[in-house]
């Protein structure tokens, strides 16, 4: 038949093409890869770190796309960002930042002191929508003696000022692009924005004009996978190279036993609390709060919620930071003692209450366990699952709750206990005095000692149930290096990542 021949040639050509493709793929295998696919559970609502609190925004943009004046590295240390050097005056009021002389935004315009002034003034303006506007409140004025020098004068000393200037909320932006950064982010970082397939992925590519150390990767894709089963499937199928803040803890043994994967467990800044309404009866009685502390078995909780991948805490401070005081032994698990304290407070038969749980698995799973532990000593907590929006509205803003379970992920946020209107409804002259002193103190050793005192006050008052630190779990391909193990700030800094 005349048609048989062309068909045969077509088939032969296809086979040949496939063979060539295979050979090309093989020779490509010899070179280390220069692309990376990072998995994240949540998609950022937009990509402007200076206009939103969602952690996912910073997890894509921090250090990759945008640079603040200083950066926090993977060990939590402050390192140069857009500023290569800085000095602080004796009185702690004048900060002088020297910028990298050749720094440029991705649109080609120079990144100079005028941009620094614009960024800081915008963040503290009356119509600012910066989620951490308080970070900029101490600033009195920003001056620009020359294009490469920015001088910031504070109205009062602030021991955390440099730390705050290293946050994503203080990323330096340009007046030309500030309004459109949400969709087309223009920063000064070693990667530039390529595209965003909404609902699926954000792609960054290497910025060849970057004036600092060039990253080894040419292309980084952040993929957003919220479903736990889909996360595991995407890793196993090889679609995702590294999944950060992985919280499907029950799948970890499987990945640990597979030589193709490496699992790292590091620290975050997320103190997980049984937040307690200190103004509401019966929780206004410290004996009741201490009874709850004795009723909770933290180790069992860590086993049940995190499959053992977590560290217990006894106050509101992460164990990996300087200044940490171990207070986990203050209220050992002791149901009998808990019952005795409840009886002393006038509740020999316990009481009924509600435990409101936001969506994260640690809260939903942990809440069930906490409720069961409280029931053992007579505290009958009715579980009320809510979604985020409702949690923020009713619990956080409305302060209308008994108990809730939540991780506080902001770094160094112990000062929330000094805020007058915070949802814990906690009021302590002692704590406030310590906090005022801390704000005036620059010396690191003295600051650490004050942090220690603050932790003790909170633990003695048993303000909240102090449960555990959320772990930073990363599941990655075994031949990938340079991923952050710990999470001192919300970030997926991939500037130092490469393939072996």
């Amino acid at each position: 038949m005349p048609t048989a021949k062309p068909r045969f040639t077509l088939a032969a050509a296809t086979i040949l093409a496939l063979a060539v493709q295979g050979a090309a793929a093989q020779s490509a295998m010899a070179q280390p890869r220069t692309d990376l696919v990072v998995g994240m559970a949540l998609e950022p609502p937009h990509l402007d770190p200076t206009a939103g609190a969602a952690g996912a925004i910073k997890e894509v943009t921090y250090a990759n796309l945008f640079e603040p004046l200083l950066r926090v590295d993977g060990d939590g240390k402050l390192v140069p960002g857009l500023a290569e050097r800085w000095t602080v005056s004796e009185d702690g009021l004048i900060y002088r930042f020297s910028l990298r002389p050749n720094a440029k935004f991705h649109d080609g315009t120079a990144a100079d002191s005028a941009d620094v002034k614009f960024t800081l003034d915008r963040a503290r303006a009356a119509d600012s929508v910066n989620a951490q506007k308080a970070y900029f409140a101490p600033i009195a004025k920003v001056e620009t003696p020359d294009p490469h020098t920015a001088v910031v004068t504070l109205s009062r000393p602030d021991g955390l000022f440099l730390f705050h200037m290293a946050s994503g909320d203080a990323a330096i932006v340009a007046p030309e692009s500030a309004a459109t950064n949400k969709q087309k982010p223009v920063g000064t970082g070693p990667f530039r924005f390529d595209r965003w397939v909404a609902g699926d992925r954000v792609v960054l590519v290497r910025n060849p004009d970057y004036d600092g150390v060039q990253p080894k990767l040419d292309r980084v894709t952040f993929r957003f996978v919220s479903d736990p089963a889909a996360q595991v499937a995407a890793l196993k199928a090889g679609d995702i190279d590294a999944f950060t803040l992985f919280s499907t803890y029950e799948a970890l043994p499987e990945f640990r036993s597979d030589p193709k994967f490496t699992v790292t467990v590091g620290s975050t800044e997320g103190e997980t609390l049984l937040s307690t309404n200190n103004a509401r009866k019966p929780f206004d009685d410290v004996r009741v709060r201490r009874a709850m502390a004795h009723a909770i078995d933290r180790q069992t909780l860590i086993e049940g919620v995190l499959y053992g991948n977590g560290v217990a805490i006894g106050s509101h401070f992460p164990p990996h930071r300087e200044g940490y005081v171990d207070l986990t032994g203050l209220y050992p698990y002791d149901p009998a003692k808990a019952k005795a304290l409840l009886a002393e407070a006038g509740y020999p038969n316990g009481f009924d209450t509600t435990l409101r749980l936001p969506p994260p698995p640690y809260a939903r799973r942990g809440g069930e366990l906490v409720a069961a532990m409280l029931a053992e000593v007579g505290i009958r907590a009715k579980i009320e699952p809510v979604e985020w929006a409702a949690w923020l509205e009713k619990t956080f803003k409305g302060k209308d709750y008994d108990l809730t379970m939540i991780a506080h992920t902001e770094p160094l946020d112990i000062d929330i206990y000094a805020r007058p209107d915070y949802y814990f409804n906690y009021k302590s002259e002692r704590f406030n005095a310590l906090n005022d002193e801390l704000n005036r103190t620059q010396d690191p050793a003295k600051r650490d000692a004050l942090y220690g005192e603050e932790q003790k006050v909170l633990a003695e008052d048993a303000v909240n149930g102090f449960l555990f630190m959320l772990p930073s779990v990363t599941v990655q391909k075994a031949n990938l290096t340079g991923m952050w193990v710990n999470r001192p700030v919300q970030a997926n800094d991939v500037t130092g990542v490469s393939w072996k």
Binding site: N130, A198, V225, S226, D227, A234, A237, E387, E393, K397
Partner: protein, 316 residues
């Protein structure tokens, strides 16, 4: 006929208008502040106020409804509170996933179900019939998301033929995009095909017992011709009705399957928007979905009228 069409159009507009009031009212009652969600737990009151005013949330409820509904009437869906992009643009982007997904599964399920249904009817009570009925029973009993997980296990994790989820976008060419949509479409198509096959079988069997078919047989028309030319056209009316209902279910089912395969479709947009309290997006998408269902139902009615093989009466 014109009066009928006008009546349908009027009821369509009223339905969509009612839907717009219901969704707006419900979102007012549900707790949650989009500004607070955006700025998080450290937001200061003045920052929240600034953002609320930027979002237009400082206006009275009625003003906001009239403003939104007025724009809607002009075809303007507004701008998303979270994404800061026009809702129409977001919806178009997501429809580019959900629509091909639904269509693909519709084509797959119809292509499988019609021949199977016909075969079962032709072989009533015999092996082929039992096999089709067995498939239908199994297909109806398995939810799409579960089939989806099985498909991922086999084709992605074991055979590595398909990605385990995600969508590369149409920008990368039709090939990779269809490649990413095939497994989800299959997962959606199996339960659809099962239902359709059963409906087709029953409908064909019903028409096979009717007078005009008996007459055709008596005239000596062959088995195949009776099935295809006389029984099938009549059977198509109930099949089309069920198909119309199924289209709405397809969009709903797509939401679940989109989640399992992490496809950026309309369902996930709606789901995320509700979580973010992106009122403008939720309102826009719900109204569009209502419009879609109403229009599909109207089209099915018209299609049934057209598919009816009885001689048209004409307007007298």
């Amino acid at each position: 006929m014109l009066a009928f069409l006008l009546r349908r159009l009027a009821s369509l507009i009223v339905t969509v208008w009612l839907a717009s009031i219901v969704v707006f009212a419900v979102l007012q009652l549900v707790p949650g502040d989009p500004a607070l969600l955006m700025l998080g737990v450290n937001a200061q009151p003045d920052t929240l106020a600034a953002l609320r005013s930027q979002m237009g949330l400082d206006q009275p409820v009625l003003t906001r409804y009239l403003h939104w509904a007025g724009a809607l009437a002009r075809g303007d869906l507004g701008v998303s509170l979270t994404y800061a992009r026009p809702v129409a643009e977001l919806v178009a982007e997501r429809l580019a996933v959900t629509l091909p997904l639904s269509l693909l599964s519709l084509v797959l399920s119809t292509a499988v179900a019609l021949p199977l249904g016909l075969l079962a009817a032709a072989r009533r009570g015999r092996g082929g019939d039992w096999a089709v009925l067995g498939f239908a029973q199994l297909g109806v009993s398995m939810p799409s998301f579960w089939i989806a997980i099985l498909l991922i296990l086999l084709f992605s994790l074991t055979l590595h033929w398909f990605p385990a989820g995600g969508f590369p976008g149409w920008g990368g060419g039709i090939g990779p995009a269809l490649h990413a949509l095939l497994l989800p479409a299959l997962a959606l198509a199996v339960p659809e095909a099962a239902i359709l096959a059963r409906v087709t079988r029953t409908a064909v069997l019903d028409t096979l017992g009717e007078d005009h078919v008996r007459t055709a047989r008596a005239k000596g028309v062959g088995r195949a011709a009776v099935l295809l030319r006389h029984a099938l056209p009549n059977a198509l009316i109930p099949v089309a009705t069920v198909l119309g209902l199924q289209i709405s279910f397809l969009v709903a089912g797509a939401v679940v399957v989109e989640n399992v395969f992490t496809l950026p479709g309309l369902g996930r947009l709606l789901y995320q928007a509700i979580g973010q309290r992106d009122l403008i997006v939720v309102q826009g998408v719900v109204v569009l979905l209502a419009l879609f269902v109403v229009v599909v139902n109207a089209l099915v009615d018209i299609a049934c009228a057209l598919a009816d093989p009885r001689p048209k009466g004409g307007e007298s």
